[in-house]
């Protein structure tokens, strides 16, 4: 595990991101994303025919299923699903495909910190790959406040998280960099909260640049 990120000048730097799009043949769009050692794979089906109970006559319904690496889906995983659903629903132009369903399936591959941020980013990349109409793209950033030093660490890994006083996950939109999703655990003050949010907002640009470079790479095929 790389601990060199504790050096002060690399505070703004996230763990290295790796992504492969369209790895799966069955879904309409898919993305395999690695942020450091945290890895997930996301697949999108859509717009497909909606089940009668879930059909909304004037907009597309977004369905998310998140599978952990082992065992059945637990309450915590249901919460992750809800976070992905609400976040993606904010980005997708749901009125473009009324009475249909957009299914997002996310499979956890390895968790070494920042799982929620990684799943949201993977879902967003898969949505881009599937060609689902979106108002903007989303970048989620995970960060923490260290117990003793009160330092803010961006995109911490498992070992760093053991010394966390509080952990934050923020998702931003690509247009105005507004917060669309926020998940926190632990104790913190209001100033600390605003400070971490600001730091994450700056870091989100790195993720948006990563998205654009990724699309540039495969755009020459079109």
């Amino acid at each position: 595990m790389d601990m060199s990120e504790e050096t002060p000048q690399s505070e703004y730097i996230l763990r290295p991101m790796n992504c492969e799009l369209n790895q799966l043949s069955m879904p309409d769009g898919s993305a395999m994303l690695m942020q450091g050692n945290t890895a997930v794979i996301a697949g999108i089906y859509g717009p497909v025919e909606a089940k009668l109970q879930k059909m909304i006559y004037d907009k597309a319904s977004v369905e998310v299923s998140y599978s952990p690496i082992k065992g059945p889906t637990k309450v915590d995983d249901r919460m992750t699903e809800m976070y992905i659903k609400e976040t993606c629903e904010a980005a997708i132009i749901v009125t473009f495909h009324p009475a249909t369903a957009i299914c997002i399936n996310v499979q956890e591959l390895e968790d070494s910190g920042g799982m929620l941020a990684c799943t949201i980013n993977a879902a967003c990349l898969a949505l881009i790959n599937a060609g689902i109409p979106m108002k903007f793209t989303i970048a989620a950033i995970n960060c923490m406040i260290q117990k003793d030093s009160e330092d803010i660490i961006l995109d911490p890994d498992n070992i760093q998280l053991q010394e966390a006083k509080a952990e934050f996950t923020f998702a931003f939109d690509s247009m105005d960099k507004n917060v669309i999703c926020c998940y926190t655990t632990g104790c913190f003050t209001e100033t600390e909260f605003l400070k971490t949010m600001d730091r994450c907002k700056q870091a989100s640009q790195y993720v948006f640049d990563f998205y654009r470079n990724l699309v540039k790479k495969y755009a020459n095929v079109i």
Partner: protein, 241 residues
């Protein structure tokens, strides 16, 4: 972020060139672009393109088909009943095809179509709020190239951008292949391609050529076709021995 023609766009980017144009011509925003007040936004990731005089669109990679009026599609008949057939065209909803929408069909003389048959049809109605409707005749009641596809052919699926690429008038793929092989092909805008050649080997070779064209630049297509022809000749001579 602001983008201009030829750039890679991401959802949420604003297109600046459109807003400054003050010509009399009507500007058409194609797929991938939407207007909100005075600003034009992209809603898909891809390459921003413009065709004269003023048609703007985003060329993007996509696998799922969204029906558009007037497009030709390859569909699979899934249901037969009453006056209509239900046809799977790969969209979010099944399309309907009236049994009267075939050449020479009357109430007494029904077309012979079974569940599982392939049809090459045109979308007469395609709207996001309504069920898509297919026809197998043009406005003169003639079938032309539409209708049932023979079961001797082979069906395969590919991405929608590949279909657009091979159906483009500038694409040399089919002309190159047709120089040495005789084949029939029906490429639907829904990403389904039906191919039939003289032998099974040739059919597979043509299907491979079409799929390989996705990642080949225009300049390489000539080499690709000759490579496939060579391999085909080798396998055929191998069969004769």
């Amino acid at each position: 972020m602001e983008v201009s023609i030829g750039d890679v766009v991401m959802p949420g980017d604003t297109v600046k060139d459109i807003t400054t144009i003050t010509k009399k011509e009507t500007i058409i925003l194609g797929p991938g672009l939407r207007r909100e007040a005075d600003t034009v936004y992209a809603y898909k990731a891809g390459v921003l393109k413009k065709t004269e005089p003023a048609v703007y669109y985003v060329d993007s990679y996509q696998k799922r088909y969204v029906p558009n009026r007037g497009e030709h599609v390859v569909g699979i008949v899934t249901q037969k009943g009453g006056d209509i057939f239900k046809v799977d065209i790969g969209a979010s909803e099944q399309a309907s095809l009236s049994y009267l929408a075939f050449e020479g069909a009357t109430k007494k003389n029904r077309p012979d179509i079974q569940v599982g048959d392939l049809v090459f049809a045109k979308l007469l109605v395609a709207s996001k709020d309504m069920e898509p409707e297919l026809v197998c005749v043009d406005s003169h009641g003639k079938e032309k190239k539409l209708g049932i596809l023979s079961s001797e052919g082979m069906l395969f699926t590919c991405s929608l951008s590949l279909i657009r690429k091979i159906l483009n008038h500038n694409s040399p793929l089919f002309n190159m292949l047709a120089r040495n092989q005789a084949f029939e092909v029906a490429a639907g805008m829904n990403g389904r391609v039906w191919v039939k050649a003289r032998t099974i080997q040739e059919t597979i070779a043509i299907a491979t050529a079409i799929l390989a064209a996705e990642y080949a630049p225009l300049s390489d297509i000539k080499k690709l076709c000759s490579d496939i022809e060579k391999t085909l000749l080798l396998t055929q001579s191998g069969n004769m021995d």
